[in-house]
Symmetry: D2
Subunit: 325 residues, 4 copies
Amino acid sequence: MDRRVREPIYDIAHLGHVELLTPAFDESLWFFTEVLGMEEVARRGGSAYLRAFGDYALYTLKLTAADRAGLGHIAWRATSPAALERRAASLEESGLGEGWVEGDLGHGPAYRFADPDGHRMEIYYKTEKYRPPEDLRPALKNQPQKFPARGVGVRRLDHVNLKALDIDANSGFLRDRLGFRLTEEVRLDDGRQGAAWMNVTQKSYDIAYGGIDAAGIGGRLHHVAYALDSREYVLRAADIFLEEGIFIEAGPAKHAVQQTFFLYVYEPGGNRVEMISDIKLLLDPDHETVTWTQAEREKGQAWRTIMPESFFTYATPLPEEAPDG
Amino acid sequence: MDRRVREPIYDIAHLGHVELLTPAFDESLWFFTEVLGMEEVARRGGSAYLRAFGDYALYTLKLTAADRAGLGHIAWRATSPAALERRAASLEESGLGEGWVEGDLGHGPAYRFADPDGHRMEIYYKTEKYRPPEDLRPALKNQPQKFPARGVGVRRLDHVNLKALDIDANSGFLRDRLGFRLTEEVRLDDGRQGAAWMNVTQKSYDIAYGGIDAAGIGGRLHHVAYALDSREYVLRAADIFLEEGIFIEAGPAKHAVQQTFFLYVYEPGGNRVEMISDIKLLLDPDHETVTWTQAEREKGQAWRTIMPESFFTYATPLPEEAPDG
Amino acid sequence: MDRRVREPIYDIAHLGHVELLTPAFDESLWFFTEVLGMEEVARRGGSAYLRAFGDYALYTLKLTAADRAGLGHIAWRATSPAALERRAASLEESGLGEGWVEGDLGHGPAYRFADPDGHRMEIYYKTEKYRPPEDLRPALKNQPQKFPARGVGVRRLDHVNLKALDIDANSGFLRDRLGFRLTEEVRLDDGRQGAAWMNVTQKSYDIAYGGIDAAGIGGRLHHVAYALDSREYVLRAADIFLEEGIFIEAGPAKHAVQQTFFLYVYEPGGNRVEMISDIKLLLDPDHETVTWTQAEREKGQAWRTIMPESFFTYATPLPEEAPDG
Amino acid sequence: MDRRVREPIYDIAHLGHVELLTPAFDESLWFFTEVLGMEEVARRGGSAYLRAFGDYALYTLKLTAADRAGLGHIAWRATSPAALERRAASLEESGLGEGWVEGDLGHGPAYRFADPDGHRMEIYYKTEKYRPPEDLRPALKNQPQKFPARGVGVRRLDHVNLKALDIDANSGFLRDRLGFRLTEEVRLDDGRQGAAWMNVTQKSYDIAYGGIDAAGIGGRLHHVAYALDSREYVLRAADIFLEEGIFIEAGPAKHAVQQTFFLYVYEPGGNRVEMISDIKLLLDPDHETVTWTQAEREKGQAWRTIMPESFFTYATPLPEEAPDG
């Protein structure tokens, strides 16, 4: 038997929640609740806590009023208390650990850290599962919440996509310290990693460093993605965004990388949000990373969809808004 | 931190392949290749090896000529060589282990065993991944094979569903010995488990004991399921089965349990085959089993779809065909 | 040139609106507005006037409080003022004409009549087209109204389906007097017409006499149907009905006759309502009627879907509620 | 009653067939049969006659070997023999009539003419309806042919889209002489019609003059369109075109004008072919033309899809290939 095969690490279960910062809190809240069809489960300080109907946890989005759009933090759930301790110890060792915090609404103690690019993250295990009130009780008890036939009706948080100055360094950090697996990547002609898609679940990705942050700002968000059941629902989302005056940047169309079906819009606070479907399962425990050359990447999307320039340059916070931008 | 939480076992990666026995080999082969759109990758002895276009392994179905319809064996892939050894040791200890075999086309050494009901199974790790010939090379290299726009066009093997005399015993065996997680179950009024759905992946199930084998035969198959991308493709499959004269037993409709979208047909050899979509992800590492009471179960499918009696009684081999039936 | 070909009559443009009677007005109104996603455009006396977002006319459903569920009347729009006069003259001659009425909200003078079975109908030409208020203005001006991302979101009125004691007589009346074309029919072994589907548009049917009224009551409604864009939207409607506790009688599934995709529910007032998609176009000006024998009809729906007995017997008003029932 | 309302003309039933010229006959034939899934019903001289499974007539596409890509002719079916005579008389009077021809495979005598731009057209009434051979007999007899689960599987011919030097003149000709109705148009700032969509059926268009022929060649084709049942099937077509190496020019996406869902490819002979779904019904007999200003038109497609320059300039024959180009 081949002894070189390393035992995989299964310490991170999945993406838990994302905190988005918005300079237009009320409008952003309208977007997520009325247009996307999410539920607000709590309000604390300047933050609203929001959930999609299929999310099992209390919430997956923390929307926080701020001066600028951008990413607050990204939270990962560990697979067990011991897994959490193992990862905290490894992060501590990495020098990028920031230490434990008490927790927040809906989850227990969390270990905070940042990736090399400065995106703030945390890991936690203990989780409050959602218990619906009477009016949101589902007809079938194997579903966390009644399906809200309102707006787009997103099902669940899917992934985050970040900009980074040095993608090799950041993807390597997540792999080494947290056990992420690199499922697809772009390798530029100069040898640098141009983009990296990684998973901890059996979805083909849970996080991506989608492109190099040419502006050199650090800690920037390309987008956060919510999943829909099929391509038709992504098309229907576009119909709804059109009616509601939401800025559609690109799609619906099919990515060549990962083959997911995408639709990108800007929520009123300025953050890019993706509607996604057809994320593939990667059940193979020794899946080999798919590497796209720069030339292959430049062929664009699967169906030759023309992407606007902003798709490659726009990220939050914007350069003019960034603290030192 | 809560010390009572047991570390999950991640030793089984996924369902690897299923061997079906058919008394009508040529007609069954036509069904899987021309109607379902699968590819035959090899023929050995009385068996054809078949794959769906999204399967990463060489094949997921072994179709074997036999006197009677039924299940040959079910194969599970381990997550690593060490995981395979751990599971073999545990099975050995269980008294239901049968020992190692050399392997078969497409995979390395396998440890053979049977569940308490007599369904023959094996675990292996080493796997031959599919390398398409020129005419089946996909346009996008992150896909194992060109999409065959022929027939139904199933994407990948999804799960197996078995009959068993004692479901508690069988589901308990898979949980204890292989680390399967019980995601949903039916608990009868008399206290027995009436059905059990279990997973090793993050799909909400990979195997089910779908009902008690009232005929008391043992080792019987309810169905094997192949996955499609969305509900519309399951409807389209029904259109195709209608045109091709394939017996449609039930569906398309939506299960209450697991909420999957189903369509059941009999392949020409007599085995029931399911077209499935909308299998949900269970990312929660401490997901609590959903237990349906007998009364809840008797409410039927999600949309009150009337199921034919055969759905509850028909399994292969048929009683009159079973060795001692 | 073949002189036997009769010039078709194009005097009736389409089904204009349907009046439904409900003994549960508030609940029925909730069903049509909140569950189906229709808009109430006016309230007059005991009636609410409702529209689907794709209807070009002011409304297509008049919902009227009454002691019993059932059909109020069915209104057809003529293709021109002259066409209206021609049809009124023909109806007058038939002995089933009732004379002119002033019109109602949204349309001009109407000629009233009843089919031989006693279903009350009218024809009108002059029509008020819908002009949306600011908050319902669509993003694209070639659409009558903003798409309401609320509930099912039905697009437009499609057809009505009636019970009748003598189907030959009723379908013949519509053909002879109004120029309806018989597109499909069931011919019973005893020579009687068992069901008849007819169109005036190029949809494959606009009205059907769906079955013989064995209860012998007369003037009964089997269902009224609203159209959705595709099968997936009909499935989604079933998901919503499940969550909202609406009684699902049959479907979603595919009819053999006409091949439409159907879903039948009872609105809270007791009338059956169909969600329909995939109604085919019949562009052939000399389309030959498709005749199904009794034996063919008894084969059931396209995919062998089992229909509940109520589908064949339930109609409004119910026998116990009918005036002389 | 309003006497100013003109009685509509219903003399043209629908688009009957289109003849395409191809300099790559074998490759074009492969495209239509293997990639689109059409059937070849006959071969005569240098022409193949092809049908989609839902077409009621013997064929809807005549594919003819030629030096250059482009349009052969467009054939319209009349609603009756008398209607054919009426239209022939009117065309005769117009000065653009060319006289009667004997007919071709599948239809009777046809009156030939050209629109002012030189697109060759004909009208006929007598039609051979398709009778499937044994292996193409459908399971349901209300369908002309068995659904071929091969390739895209287009259902029926939908429309043609032409370039013209003077769109007002051409759309006016079809309206005045043949009774076409102008459903949507673009009106340029200089007062000229920039594009015109017209119907004879209750589909929202059957022919369009999609843009001004800036090259000034005359008689050019923008595209011919085949219909699919829903948007998902158009997406699936894109998946198949990608695998088969067919050039995808634009889409899948949603038009603002007419709101149809589109996908444009070039068949191997160079002609643009559209896959279309969601063509709306226009049941209103006095539908008012929707006029888009130049500024409105320049906003582009419904979801801001970026169209390649070729979409506005490419038409067959190409300038360099045109007889006098």
